[in-house]
Amino acid sequence: MAAEELPSIDALGQFELTTSLGAFGRSVNFTQSNTMMLIASALVLGMLYFGMRPKAVVPGRLQALAEMGYEFIYNMCSDQIGHEGRRFFPFVFTLFFFVLMGNLLGLLPYSFTYTSHIVVTFALAAAVIVLTTVVALYLHGWKFFTYFFPAGAPKMLAPLIIPVEVISYLSRPVSLSIRLFANMVAGHVMFEVFASFVVMLAAAGTLGVVGAIGPLALNVVLVGFELLVAALQAYVFAILTCIYLHDAVHLH
């Protein structure tokens, strides 16, 4: 058997960007990732439109879903940020559902996971960090910089504490974006690897077909696990945004 005849594992090809929407997409570099973003946005807006259309006092299923999403994020904002959290509620809601829909849609076959792109997650995290910094500067002015030196800490330790605090502040967008990106990429790479195992083993004959049941079963389990990860990472992204906004509003 020559090496080139073996089906190779192309675990990263799934993250390749291509243009979408035909000639229009080619002319303005509209990628399939952006198409998925449009679908995700349409799903969120559709959920609210069709869910809230009955305006029922006793909600139906879709209305209950829309209301649960609303109240979940609303409570998260008001619990984590406090009373001022209501102003950031639309932003956190958009962020949460944008990430959640990206994660969940990515699990469908032939779709694309836009949250598996570090530039996407980093852009979202950068938006969060810029927003929190702007909010903090707007609310507290120059007092914002006392955030980097907690009150009551010994002055002797200032040369140590201030750099640590600054680095920890600046690493927030990095950790926020890499956490989501890495979780999504790892999940999809594992799908691809195990699915490739299934194909490769099945190609190897009857014994291989039996052996392929193992990775196939593992992939089935992984789908469930990835559903959990998809929801959890969207939640983590949203709640960390809320915590950062809390720091911005209250300075510790």
Partner: protein, 193 residues
Amino acid sequence: MRGITSLASLAFTLTTSAAFAAEGKRGMPQLDVANPLITSQVVWMAIIFFALYLLLSRWGLPKVELVLKARAATIAGDLDAARAAKVLSDAARDEMMSATQKAHAAAQAQVTAAVDQAKAEAAAQAVTANARLDRQLAEAESRIAAARASAVDALREVATTATVDVVARLAGFAPDQAVINDAVGRALTARAA
């Protein structure tokens, strides 16, 4: 903990990426910054995200808020109505209880009054009956006394006459009337006692 898992998954991704890169393939497409689609993706994302934000904050979320507020108002209104109804029913129940108590007390008073009246009437009747019986008794006694007196008088007469006759027969003379009367009177009183 989350940090550790995300770091582990990142390490896994990077090692797999490195492994495939070593095989002569390109590294992670996400890190291929030379690809213009990477940049355009972010630009389009910014546009889509901002549009989604605007649509949600101006149109989508206020719809939900409206319905939730309406429901909260309905629930609060229903609770208020229920509280008001409860107050009314409590008042009605209290009123009914007091009315029952009043009626009970009134009935009790009427019963007592009727019993008292009956007792009084019975007592009055007993008094009149007693009086009548006493009167009849007194009349009967007076009649008996009169009869007895007349009987005693008749007896005295008979005794006197008999004594006069007996004395006249035995002694042969008419006895002194006063002596006879006196002796008969003494004998009669001795018998009567």
